[in-house]
């Protein structure tokens, strides 16, 4: 086993990895930029190396400085976390060249899966279903009709050069295709100077479901089931679950998707942890989307339900270890839900809200897991992703997990900056959510239909009283008239220490 590992990341995931290393009695090395000296990940490691200025390209994305930090501290391996260099094949290759173990897949597999079109080709060759269609431009309406027939209606016409909806047309029946093809082509020509359009099968109200796979360097690979990630905003996941409610209706789907994910990963020569993302329609038909060749943000829900410590397994596999379980030994118990806590204001278009955390109360208790990268008094820098923490809960059933998440969110208080914490209880109480009727458009629909919280007269009166209490001049420094006022004074004193 390694004696020392460098963590090429920051925030909650660096803390997560540092904890795993402590648990394994492996020395941990943090790296930090100018604005991260006081960050939690530095405090939770055994060593720390300053690697540059705040902008990521001068620090967390700077391959040479990170390798130099590893060499200087004698780290034998590097865990890249997620984001930053984690899916950078050049970095993985540079580690390999420097004889430092990259805790992840081989650089070659990252490269193969890094190109979306190459990944699609590999997956298709391995027999994993992909969204049917032609990625190249269609010559004419006749070719379009042929491809559409192969895909099955409804289909989408999309501009090859496009984006942002221009040149896109939904076509539900063969009779509408020719007209739609002409319109889409001319729209594309107008918008992008290129009339080329292609066809893709339209997956209506798809779920975004991903499969966690993990393989060792000895040819063993297994899947740890799915994560339901359909609740997204602008392709950014907001709330994830394991299991997906879909699997309760289709118990055989997990294994089919799991095997499809393993096939795709094997075809790329993959090992270590990885995630294969699928679009899934209401009937359980699934289509390969892409592969994330790293640890996923939402890995805790899989850990809570399977009992597997994915980060520990990653490290053990990188050190040459074998998978300790066979596929048939993997068990899924209960239900887990994760909420991503961001420094952003849901009432102001999710505008980022960096700044100083003046007060922090974190939830805990039965079934509550908090992976946090912040602490009270710390300044959330504006240079990086504004994710503060991940609140994950586990319970025996999905409904109990949702209820648990609601009280845990109620105990969570981040003062001084805005967060999206108050977004979640409404989602978790939403009838469509409870019924498991999820798709990638869920959150937009929910945001449009959600109701403002009810404010009772009594709550308003309490707010008024609290405002007066907060606005009152400080209690005198000496002398208590009653216990409560004494508390207030002493509380203030204690915070001055």
């Amino acid at each position: 086993m390694f004696r020392k590992v460098l963590i090429a990341n920051r925030g909650e995931i660096a803390v997560r990895i540092a904890r795993a290393l402590r648990e394994m009695e492996i020395a941990s090395v943090a790296v930090y930029s100018d604005v991260d000296r006081a960050s939690l990940h530095v405090r939770r490691c055994d060593e720390a190396v300053h690697i540059g200025a705040a902008p990521s390209r001068e620090s967390y994305l700077h391959i040479e400085r990170i390798l130099e930090a590893a060499r200087r501290t004698g780290a034998e391996a590097i865990h890249p976390g997620y984001g930053f260099l984690s899916e950078n094949a050049d970095f993985a290759a540079a580690c390999e060249a420097a004889s430092i173990v990259f805790i992840g897949p081989p650089s070659d597999a990252i490269r193969k899966m890094g190109s979306k079109t190459a990944a699609r080709r590999i997956a298709a060759a391995a027999g994993t279903p992909i969204v049917p269609g032609a990625e190249e431009g269609l010559r004419d309406a006749g070719e379009a009709a042929r491809v559409a027939r192969e895909c099955g209606y409804p289909v989408m016409l999309k501009a090859v050069a496009g984006g942002g909806g221009k040149g896109m047309r939904r076509v539900d029946t063969p009779g509408d295709l020719a007209m739609a093809f002409e319109t889409a082509s001319s729209e594309a020509a107008g918008a992008f100077g290129d009339a080329a359009v292609y066809i893709e099968k339209l997956i209506e109200q798809p779920r975004h479901i991903e499969i966690q796979i993990i393989g060792d360097q000895h040819g063993n690979m297994l899947h740890l089931g799915e994560r339901e990630c359909s609740i997204q905003r602008r392709h950014q996941k907001v709330l994830e679950e394991c299991p997906s409610a879909l699997m309760t209706h289709m118990p055989e789907l997990r294994e089919r998707m799991g095997q499809a994910a393993i096939s795709a990963a094997r075809a790329a020569g993959y090992y270590n942890a990885g995630t294969v993302e699928f679009l899934v329609d209401a009937r359980g038909a699934f289509y390969f989307l892409e592969m994330n060749t790293r640890l996923q943000v939402e890995h805790p829900v899989t850990e809570l339900v399977t009992g597997v410590d994915l980060v520990r397994w990653q490290i053990e596999i990188a050190a040459g270890g074998r998978l300790p379980l066979r596929q048939e030994q993997v068990r899924w118990n209960g239900a887990a839900i994760e909420c991503r806590v961001y420094a952003e204001d849901p009432e102001q278009g999710f505008f980022p809200s960096p700044g100083r955390i003046t007060h922090l109360t974190e939830p805990a208790g039965p079934g509550v897991r908090l992976d946090s990268g912040v602490y009270s008094g710390w300044h959330v820098p504006l240079e990086y992703d504004p994710m503060l923490a991940k609140l994950a809960v586990w319970a025996e059933t999905r409904n109990a997990a949702a209820q648990r998440a609601i009280w845990a969110l109620g105990e969570y208080h981040v003062g001084g900056i805005e967060t999206n914490l108050r977004l979640f209880p409404g989602i978790l109480r939403d009838p469509a959510f409870r019924e498991g009727r999820l798709h990638t458009g869920f959150l937009d629909e929910y945001m449009a239909r959600r109701l403002a919280p009810v404010i009772t007269e009594e709550a308003a009166a309490v707010a008024a009283q609290a405002a007066l209490a907060g606005a009152a001049p400080p209690a005198p420094a000496i002398g208590e008239t009653r216990r409560e006022s004494g508390w207030r004074r002493s509380g203030r004193e204690s915070l001055l220490r």
């Binding site: 505008f351 404010i455 009166a461 309490v462 409560e484």
Partner: protein, 144 residues
């Protein structure tokens, strides 16, 4: 000294509960045996998951800033973080409704639409497109 308190713009008679401060800006309030917890967050008070804007007559603590989010009067839209104005969608004199997009700022690699908190008329636009703004900059003023 009797002070008037407005909650979401409306005058409210404060409760006569048992108040205990349980943290910085956090108060536990018991009213007829019911438990409330009120947290002062920025310019509002959060209670039971709802966010209320509260104004106390006393200007030293809770005045001024409160006005910005109240239902009537003058709303000053500020940038909460440094960023770049990529689009301005209103001009002085224009009527806007609550939730209407006013301008778009790019910060932390995200484009964010700043919306009007309520109905009114734009009385000032203090930025132009492509301008870089500091945290706290006054962007747009809406009155009504």
């Amino acid at each position: 000294m009797k002070r008037t308190v407005r909650v979401n713009g409306e005058p409210v008679e404060p409760a006569h509960g048992d108040v205990v401060q349980v943290g910085p800006g956090v108060f536990s309030v018991l009213v007829d045996g019911r438990v409330y917890e009120a947290r002062m967050e920025g310019e509002s008070i959060v209670i039971g998951g709802a966010r209320l804007s509260v104004e106390v007559e006393d200007p030293r603590r809770l005045g001024g800033a409160r006005r910005q989010t109240s239902a009537s009067g003058r709303a000053v839209l500020r940038s909460t973080i440094p960023g770049k104005v990529v689009r301005v969608m209103v001009q002085v004199g224009q009527a806007v409704v609550a939730g209407q997009g006013v301008l778009v700022i790019e910060a932390m690699k995200m484009q964010n639409e700043v919306k009007s908190p309520r109905e009114g008329v734009v009385t000032a636009v203090n930025v132009v497109e492509h301008e870089t703004v500091a945290s706290g900059s006054e962007l747009v003023v809406i009155e009504g």
